[in-house]
């Protein structure tokens, strides 16, 4: 669907949409927070942000001013697998925009003053997360689910690890990672393929050569039983809750079947969880299950937020429902329904140039086969209820769950102490960012 081109070691993709009036740019530097040295968690994230915070030719302020003058935007995002620089510009300003982008990628210098400011903002962000119960629940769910695995370390780092990062750490990181061997470039929108190729060549020219070196993740730890973490936050009117476990990534052929199953477990309005928790009982405004897959591993999680009085019945119902699905699979009708949703929704996932660019980059980023998007509907359609049951039995683990709750501990503990299958129950104050030790 979107052929991958090569310019030397650089891989690139062009997603045309004439008449859009915009060009979207995405530059992926492979290798992200997974490379953070122990004790310096948050390094890739901070180094990525510093890409656009000062070069040998431009101060941070001049970069901001130039981008603003063009009516354009740039920002960086870091995942475990890479640093993504994304931008948007009107076609008539593409040339000066690329001038800034190549400068940032090719001669970023991590100025001390800009670094101190950016680090201070990162620390503020980490603290501000405590204000958002949903974010807090997800943060602690991931720490608990991935305990003992590299993904236990958050992309944005810990408060103390970010404190330890110095500007020269960022410079070293960028020098090691920002080269042609790790570079993937995508342009989408109102420009032709020749212009895209020329833009890719400009970006590539600004970078040194280098060999591709992409770290891989180990399999998830094998943890048994229910592990529950109460994030103690007083004065809440409802309980934010995330329940789930590590699972497979894009490189596992079972993933499409797991996506179909998730659709009918809690991925849609008509899923079992949404019907039982929201539609029938009105226990939570939202309830959703999801599979977030990386290259080698992923996570299955259910998120909802009942009132305190509904917490225990909602938790029991959710775990019963997951056991039922894992043990018995889904009905033929549910599987057909889930397949219809995924196949019919497929055009919507690719509706805009930006959507198509993201999917094309995901193919590269996650090592999906080149024909993944072309064959996705067909692969989904080829599955039947037995395939789904087999995959659920293999990959859904309703008796081995990590559960993170954000609520006043004094009120919530009596409600969850006797959960069947509970092997650990811990409490952490909401203003801590790590799991409790011991």
């Amino acid at each position: 669907m979107f052929p991958i081109r090569h310019l030397g070691a650089v891989r690139w993709v062009h997603v045309p949409e004439p008449g859009l009036g915009l060009v979207h740019l995405a530059v992926l530097i492979e290798g992200g927070a997974g490379l953070d040295p122990p004790g310096l968690e948050g390094l890739a994230d901070l180094a990525g942000a510093m890409l656009i915070r000062g070069t040998r030719r431009r101060t941070h302020r001049r970069i901001l001013a130039r981008i603003a003058d063009l009516g354009a935007s740039i920002e960086t995002r870091t995942t475990h697998d890479g640093i993504l620089l994304i931008g948007e510009v009107m076609p008539r300003h593409l040339d000066p925009f690329l001038d800034v982008i190549t400068d940032c990628l090719g001669s970023s210098r991590v100025p001390e003053a800009a670094f101190r400011r950016e680090k201070a903002l990162s620390l503020e962000d980490l603290v501000a997360r405590r204000e958002d119960d949903g974010d807090l629940a997800w943060h602690f769910f991931h720490r608990l689910a991935w305990q003992g695995h590299p993904l236990e370390r958050p992309t944005s780092g810990w408060l103390d690890s970010v404190e330890r990062i110095r500007a020269d750490h960022c410079r070293d990181f960028l020098r090691d990672r920002v080269h042609r061997g790790h570079l993937v470039v995508g342009l989408a929108g109102d420009l032709d393929e020749a212009s895209t190729e020329a833009a890719v060549a400009r970006i590539a020219e600004a970078l040194p050569d280098g060999n591709r070196d992409v770290p891989t993740l180990p399999p998830p730890p094998d943890r048994r039983g229910l592990r529950l973490l109460v994030v103690d936050k007083p004065g809440r009117s409802q309980v934010q809750m995330v329940i789930g476990h590590p699972t497979i990534g894009w490189n596992d052929p079972d993933l499409p079947a797991l996506l179909v199953a998730n659709t009918m477990i809690g991925g849609t309005w008509n899923s079992r969880l949404n019907q039982e928790i929201r539609e029938v009982r009105g226990w939570s405004y939202g309830v959703h299950s999801s599979i977030t897959a990386g290259r080698e591993v992923g996570a299955f999680a259910v998120h909802f937020f009942p009132q305190m009085r509904d917490l225990r019945p909602a938790l029991d119902l959710t775990m019963d429902l997951l056991c039922q699905v894992a043990d018995q699979g889904l009905s033929e009708e549910e599987v057909a329904f889930g397949e219809d949703i995924l196949v019919n929704q497929f055009p919507l996932l690719l509706a805009t140039a930006q959507d198509r660019l993201e999917e094309a980059l995901a193919n590269l980023h996650y090592g999906r086969p080149a024909d993944y998007l072309d064959r996705f509907p067909e692969r989904v359609r080829s599955l039947d209820a037995r395939d789904i049951a087999r995959v659920l039995a293999r990959h859904l683990r309703p008796r081995d769950l990590a559960i993170a709750l954000v609520a006043p501990a004094r009120q919530v503990l009596p409600l969850v102490r006797d959960l069947p299958g509970l092997v650990s129950l811990q409490v952490v104050p909401h203003d801590q960012d790590r799991l409790p030790t011991g």
Binding site: A68, D69, E131
Partner: protein, 435 residues
Amino acid sequence: MTRSDEVEGVRVETVAGSSPGLRAVRGRLANGLTLLAMEDHSAPVVAVQVWMRVGSAHEVPGQTGLAHLLEHLMFKGTPRHPKGVFDRLLERAGAQSNAVTSFDCTTYYETLPVQHLDLALGLEADRLVNLTLDARSLDQEREVVRSERSLRVEDDPDGHLEEVLYGLLFPDHPYGRPVLGVPEDLDRLTLDDCLAFHRRWYCPPQAVLVVVGDLDWPEIARAVARHFGRIPGPREAPPAGAQAPLPPAPRGRREVVRLPLQAERLRIGWRTLPIGLDAVFPLEFLHVVLFSNEASRVHHRLVEKEGLASQVEGASDPMALDGAFWVDVALTRGARAPEAWAVICEEIRRLAREGPHPSEMRRAQNHLETAFRRSMASAESRATQLGAFEVTAGDFRRAFRFLDHLGRVTPEDVRQAAARWIDPERAVVVVGRPR
């Protein structure tokens, strides 16, 4: 196409757009329903949106939250499509659908593969006039709305501050009351209240149907006529829009709210202008020059230079009857709201005195043009623009007029707007202070 064109009973009234690729058509059915249509052949999808000209501004005191509760209940079924069927049919067809209630309107929307246009139109036409409700559904959905209010207001400092700010900006006016309703009102709403509200406001002349997608105009018109053309017009004249008189703009109100925050938060607002006036355009420039991006004056001072804030956001928020201009500042730990407010006042007064630099005007023009292009980047966002301007400003063409006007706003317009509309003396300032 001319004004006299008629397709299958849809009378074409207006054709307009900023370029051939962005041309929209307004048509009218005999029953009074307004149709806005735009061809978008960039993907095999279609966006269908029903904009009802009724929102929380049309509620009477004591019944706050009624428009929003009814929005939830609109998914509960009709005799032809009983409870659950609506969502099942749409979801199976690959639709992404939902609804949203605001002060001025209520919007029901779905985006789906283009071959399922008839399904979406049939379901929307059915629930517009044939909604059935029962007490059990009402009670369930009341619980869901309580949960939504906990999520968005009671457990969310930002939502809480917004509610306080709008309450102070619009005292004793529907714009000052929460769209989700106050809990005591929500508890009291009955099935009869909901049904009466539906009967009163949900009829073809109150609806603007927007269809944007991979279809030609005649195909859209025929499909719309097939599903909505048979709905009779109302026997009585449609009700007038929200008529609540606007209270005088407050002057210099200050409020401190204790919240579970890690650092102080500053939420500032001013009353401005309704969306239908050209005088709102300089407010967009004001927003860009002062607040909207990392290069803006206030962001530079507060975040980059003085380290008092980690984030500055804001917006000009023009509505049907009046407008608001608000700014939200997340302070860094240890910084105090009065320090940040003093910087903001200084920058506003400087702009009101000296006006923007020509380079800031060019920057704002480019920024706003990019924002316009982004708002036209998908069938769904195009439909949202058309529907919002038609319902709140009275004419979808204002979506394009904004682009035409970018080059006409002068530095003096922006200077005057700063002096007149965001005078620090008139500001309503709400400080969120950590408990």
